[in-house]
Assembly symmetry: C2
């Protein structure tokens, strides 16, 4: 018991990536913060930042474009049986992109977080590149692995279901929009809050690309957009409930 | 920079409560797991477990009872303008209890987590008692502090708003039920998942009171009940949307 518990702590403690001593930390050289982080078996990327970002943004762009085309088709109609407005089409495109990023990119992390530091497959290199903005990914920080796993396996499929629900004009479309957006918002808030309390120690604070673009910008999107979509879903669901409550009362009186 | 970063790590690392060395760990004796946990300034409770549990369950009972009475009043009506059924009344009582536990008990933790080990005020002693089932509370584990702060300041007030929304039959009542329940569910899933990956090292695994009652039972409630209430809210919101979509289509055709 005592043994397994000590092992438990040691594991948890290693996931937090703090070197036991400078000697340990001096192990494998790496570009991550804090600089004394211990990343056993780390292998540097052979793919350039440009290759990785081009892949991420072009595939996201393809998802966006194809969804934009789909939402513009004649058969695609909103609750009023009218064509989708620009804002609604963009919202549906957002969920398609989320389906890709949560399901594929974060899905990869949720499956291979333990081998990523030494792995050279494309998505592992993507995560080693992103980790320059947040090393919690390259050290498989416990909270990060748990939050990303929930995001990949729940918010990912639910994002795609949301796209389908709007295209097919299903009555659960705004319920799904609300659930996915709240899940994303809560995850992102905990993501920033835990790192804030860690003193932003897992990134080179203030670095224009790694801190501001990778860590701040790429994640703050999942705070601002879900907030807007939660309010939008709230408005629609509240209107529907008001309408139904009135009809119900008339029926009973 | 280097200095502040090192400080950052050290802080984060201490919040995870792993003893730097057996010498450090041998500091203050305490009843928490892992046994080599370092809890500087820890002061043992002078309140008994019975006093603490009696307080928690009697106050929760009072919130439950008073809400049960309120939901049974003649003026309290559901969407159809009819009296609340037993299941709905129990659901509203649940949100009232959540308002108390999130807002007051977890609210206290979110404000005083850093002094709780040495503090003897009643709610600090409650948390020192609960920590026997999960020592992450007595060492102010980073994820735990962040998740509890969101729970206290968002799901707490929103739980009370949900109670009011049902009593006043507001059209946002099921939207609130869905949001609070999903927030609670996600928080509880991350709570168990992070500890599972830590090898249940923060409790005496298998202990009937501390592990099974405090850690498992007291938290699994926030998985089972929210799941039921999410499905219930989904059903009601979907019905309302179906009803409204039909009416809208009739209007436009």
């Amino acid at each position: 018991m005592e043994l397994s518990i000590t092992a438990g702590c040691d594991t948890a403690w290693n996931r937090n990536g703090m070197a036991k001593s400078p000697v340990r930390a001096a192990g494998v050289p790496h570009p991550y913060w804090p600089r004394d982080l211990s990343i056993p078996g780390y292998v540097a990327n052979d793919r350039s930042m440009h290759e990785i970002l081009s892949f991420l943004f072009s595939v996201s762009g393809l998802f966006m474009l194809s969804t934009w085309v789909l939402t513009g088709r004649k058969w695609a109609r909103d609750g009023r049986g009218q064509e989708f407005g620009v804002a609604r089409r963009l919202a549906i495109c957002w969920f398609a992109v989320c389906g890709f990023i949560h399901g594929v990119v974060e899905g990869w992390f949720s499956l291979y977080y333990d081998v990523i530091p030494s792995d050279q497959s494309f998505l592992s290199q993507l995560w080693k590149e992103y980790s320059r903005g947040d090393s919690r990914y390259v050290i498989a920080d416990n909270f990060t692995v748990c939050m990303e796993t929930v995001t990949a396996w729940f918010w990912g499929p639910l994002s795609l279901w949301t796209v389908f629900a709007f295209l097919a004009n299903k009555p659960c479309r705004f319920v799904l929009q609300l659930m996915v957006s709240l899940g994303q918002l809560y995850g992102a808030v905990l993501y920033f809050y835990t790192e804030h309390r860690d003193g932003y120690s897992h990134s080179q604070m203030g670095h224009p690309l790694y801190f501001w673009f990778y860590f701040v910008f790429m994640n703050v999107l999942w705070i601002i957009i879900p907030l807007v979509l939660i309010l939008d879903a709230w408005r629609h669901l509240q209107q529907a409930q008001t309408h139904t409550d009135l009809a119900q009362k008339e029926k009973t009186n």
